[in-house]
């Protein structure tokens, strides 16, 4: 089995480099500067993942793909007292996000061992049926997001936000569209004049437990 990581970042290779080098990853560590995998697989947040079998057929559509990591309680246990209040508020919400990396990793291991007989393996029809909905407005959002990225990469930084905003309006539960644009305006993804939403406001609006919608493994 091969793991392939894909960095979704319009800012490109140099934005991802420090993280990949620090990880010292030996698996293919790729950069998706144009977010093409968002469009092709339906990634709407990170981390999202897909499984592909030996014949090149998807057996799981895009879904949350949590790597093993420290528990939220441990990860957010020691927040320095002088941390800005907004960051403390963001971390408090992040602590409430529901993940299941044990379940995800166990499911991957089961698939690796049992292949098509794994209870986690879906038929091609199931994969297609369970892939994210794409009504016409989401297709328009994808086009708007691509246009925004194109303008941003070409240096038209003042003209990109209106297309980012259009993508956000058309596909409001796509966190990748939002986080990419927010991060360009403010590394902490806080409120700015460019966008009518920000990470903290939006996650409070939906409830942190709904950040990674997924049925139990």
């Amino acid at each position: 089995m091969e793991i392939v990581t894909v960095a979704l970042d319009t800012a490109g290779v140099e934005a991802a480099r420090p993280w990949i080098e620090a990880a010292g990853a030996e698996h293919p560590s790729l950069i998706d500067q144009a977010h093409v995998t968002d469009e092709l697989f339906g990634f709407v947040n990170i981390p999202n993942g897909v499984w592909i079998d030996e014949d090149g057929v998807l057996v799981r559509p895009a879904e949350p793909a949590w790597p093993p990591r420290e528990t939220n309680d441990k990860k957010y246990a020691d927040i320095p007292a002088d941390t800005p209040q907004r960051m403390k508020d963001m971390l408090a919400e992040a602590r409430k996000i529901v993940t299941d990396s044990d379940g995800y990793v166990a499911a991957v291991r089961d698939w690796v061992e049992h292949g098509a007989r794994s209870r986690f393996t879906l038929s091609p029809d199931e994969v297609v049926a369970r892939s994210h909905p794409r009504p016409p407005e989401h297709a328009r959002a994808a086009a708007a997001f691509e246009l925004a990225q194109h303008l941003w990469r070409r240096g038209h930084r003042d003209d990109a936000p209106r297309w980012f905003r259009k993508a956000h309006r058309l596909h409001p539960d796509n966190w990748t569209y939002k986080r990419q644009a927010w991060a360009f305006a403010d590394p902490l993804q806080g409120p700015t004049e460019l966008y009518d939403s920000d990470w903290l406001s939006d996650i409070r609006a939906i409830g942190a437990e709904n950040y990674y919608p997924h049925d139990p493994w």
């Binding site: 089995m1 091969e2 793991i3 392939v4 990581t5 894909v6 960095a7 979704l8 970042d9 800012a11 290779v13 934005a15 991802a16 993280w19 790729l30 950069i31 998706d32 093409v36 995998t37 469009e39 092709l40 697989f41 339906g42 990170i46 981390p47 999202n48 993942g49 499984w51 592909i52 030996e54 090149g56 057929v57 559509p61 895009a62 793909a65 991957v108 690796v112 029809d125 297609v128 049926a129 892939s131 994210h132 909905p133 794409r134 009504p135 016409p136 297709a139 328009r140 959002a141 086009a143 708007a144 691509e146 246009l147 194109h150 070409r154 003209d159 986080r179 927010w182 991060a183 993804q189």
Partner: protein, 110 residues
């Protein structure tokens, strides 16, 4: 798919969208959508596939969005041959991993 004109040919459309133009229509995996007879027409093909064509006149570019004809992200379970670069700028073809199980995981620095 970013384009600066609407009179692109079928090969460019296929390269940018993954939909091959064949005698039976626009095809991806086992799905084919009939097209009008005659020369390839981007606007008509986009309409039939439920693709959005978004125009920024100030910059003279259009973005052609993905298909939405089935109402789902995937039209087929066949994995596309995604080509992405690594840190050194080398192209990596997903199809190079054919014969192995593959888990693709997205992440972001932001």
């Amino acid at each position: 798919m970013i384009i600066d004109r609407l009179d692109i040919d079928a090969d460019s459309f296929a390269a940018g969208t993954g939909w091959a133009i064949k005698p039976e229509g626009a095809c991806k995996g086992e799905t084919c959508v009939p097209l009008a007879r005659g020369a390839f027409d981007l606007a008509d093909t986009a309409r039939r596939l439920g693709m959005a064509l978004v125009h920024d006149p100030a910059h003279g570019v259009w973005a052609l969005g993905p298909e939405s004809l089935t109402g789902r992200t995937l039209v087929t379970a066949e994995a596309p041959d995604v080509v992405l670069s690594d840190l050194d700028g080398n192209d990596f073809h997903l199809h190079a991993l054919r014969g192995q199980k593959v888990v693709i995981v997205s992440w972001a620095p932001y």
